[in-house]
């Protein structure tokens, strides 16, 4: 599967015209669309809202990177992968960052044909991160469910003087009657009992 991510809408942010031209050429050659080129002082939020890029290329040291961080927060439902590039003199940053999984870095002066491969890496890594965040939330929820169901069962057994199976049956029926997930209902019971 070579370059699965074709025809992407790319936003380029940099003050270095030569570097911009090099990247643009390489990306266009790979079938991507440059929707906007901005200098580092430009209003990035407005640029993103207006042009709806799929991916953003920005200098690792641009002050406006903090603005992009907030973008990730605001548009959590549709965050965008960001490709960072660094000056050749800062190759150490790039290599270490790629190694550490921080982000995909493109080093200035890199052969243009590698740009698109790096774009794929950035997007793949971004998607892995998104999936991990989702999985982590789901895993946390499952763990919490197990723990709270156990606790609620224990509480019912003690209060009603019933055995474990009966307690679980009662919990499940009460949750079903109220059209709630059993974990959520267990938490409600526990919260209520905390107040007593």
């Amino acid at each position: 599967m070579k370059h699965a991510n074709r025809g992407l809408r790319v936003m380029l942010v940099d003050d270095d015209q030569a570097r911009l031209a090099m990247m643009e050429q390489a990306l266009v050659a790979e079938g991507h669309v440059i929707v906007v080129r901005l200098d580092a002082q430009a209003d990035l939020l407005a640029g993103v809202t207006l042009h709806q890029p799929d991916v953003i290329f920005i200098d690792v040291d641009a002050p406006s990177r903090d603005t992009l961080e907030s973008l990730g927060q605001i548009h959590r439902e549709r965050p965008r992968p960001i490709v960072l590039f660094a000056a050749r003199s800062d190759a150490e940053t790039a290599h270490r960052a790629v190694h550490a999984g921080v982000s995909a870095y493109v080093v200035d002066g890199l052969h243009p044909t590698r740009l698109s491969a790096l774009l794929d890496v950035a997007i793949a890594r971004f998607e892995v991160h998104q999936a991990l965040s989702r999985e982590l939330s789901a895993a946390n929820a499952r763990l919490a469910d197990q723990r709270d169901i156990e606790k609620a069962k224990g509480m019912l057994m003690k209060r009603r003087k019933i055995d474990e199976d009966e307690a679980y049956g009662m919990l499940r029926k009460m949750a079903m009657d109220r059209k709630q997930r059993i974990g959520d209902y267990a938490r409600l019971l526990l919260a209520a009992s905390d107040l007593l």
Binding site: L68, A141, A191
Partner: protein, 417 residues
Amino acid sequence: MMNGLEKSRVRLGMLPLADAAPLIVARSCGFFARHGLDVELSVERAWAALRDKVAAGVLDGGQMLAPMPIAATLGLDGVAVPMVTAMVMSLNGNSITVSRALHARMVRYLPEGPTAGSCATALAAVIAEQRERGGRRPIFAHVFPFSAHHYELRMWLASADIDPDNDVQLCVVPPSQMVSELESGRIDGYCVGEPWNEVALQRGVGVAVASKHEIWNNSPEKVLGVTRDWAQEHPNTHRAMVAAMIEAARWLDIEDNRHEAATLLVSEHMLDAPAASIFASLRMRTGGIVFHRGAATYPWRSHAVWFILQMLRWKQCWLAPNFSDIAFDVYRCETYREAAALVGEPCPRADYKSEGARFIGSPTPSTDGGSIMLGPDAMLDGSIFDAADPLGWLKLQRHGLPTVGYASLLSANVRHS
């Protein structure tokens, strides 16, 4: 190597801000050298860049916004390399400035001798007026999603019943661009650290309407952060770094030294701001930057819990964390105490304190058997926050609603008996 340092050459990142002074002082006045450290300071242009370089190991650590290591450890910042801090670099020092145009409209609603509270109320009146006329919402900038600035701005707005998510528009602007953005009218106000409020004032572009010490007095601003792994691999270097920085902070809070510190900052050309505003930023005054007094350098775990709550309240956190586990992991009181012992610094015996209840200074027991006078920690909205019951505080808030269910938070924080 001296003191068994795992590493003596250290690269630390900072942003060009007045409250980076402890790093500059520790290097230039020989505090780092005294602890066997040869420190190179790297001036970064964005918090995101600093964070990435620390996460990647290009930098050993650096000045960070106090909530950054927490966001990193919770994995909310998109990088998710866990970070820790064992020392607070500064308290207070931020202000909220509004444009002259907005201030002119607020003036009609302001009493004589305006305060942070009455300014927020006046802003609420202007917003209501504007809504009736169909005008656009005011735009306020801060510096980073996970910053004390961001939470202070929201707390100030919410104190006058302004909904930060609907009644105004919030955005992030790099500190050095704040004044020009305000001047151009692209934003109507901002919350930023020094020297950028001083610059706006001296250039007549804006008016300061609230300061961090009025919003939450003596609250943490910047910390010295490293990755969790780095801290584990370099315990002696970490301890030496914190010890040197405590000495620098102690030196900085002697009033006579502030002028010398400002001269140092100006001569190092690290801050791209007029010298007069740098001198004004470091002047000792009510609401100014605090580096040392009142156990300022101590990483209270109650501060960490407070920041986690803000991340939840303002929908930045979609997980249900265990508050005390995260506070224990990220804010390293133990390392601080070890470092403090090296430089004869008394430190609080407790890891937590109540927040918001001190309207005047009061003492706390210290590890040397005596006590330390803590500064007031009152909050603008009158909140009193007990870290033993963080959810109780969360439930009381009118604006902001966690995306995480209350039940999930409760179950993640059930006290194990």
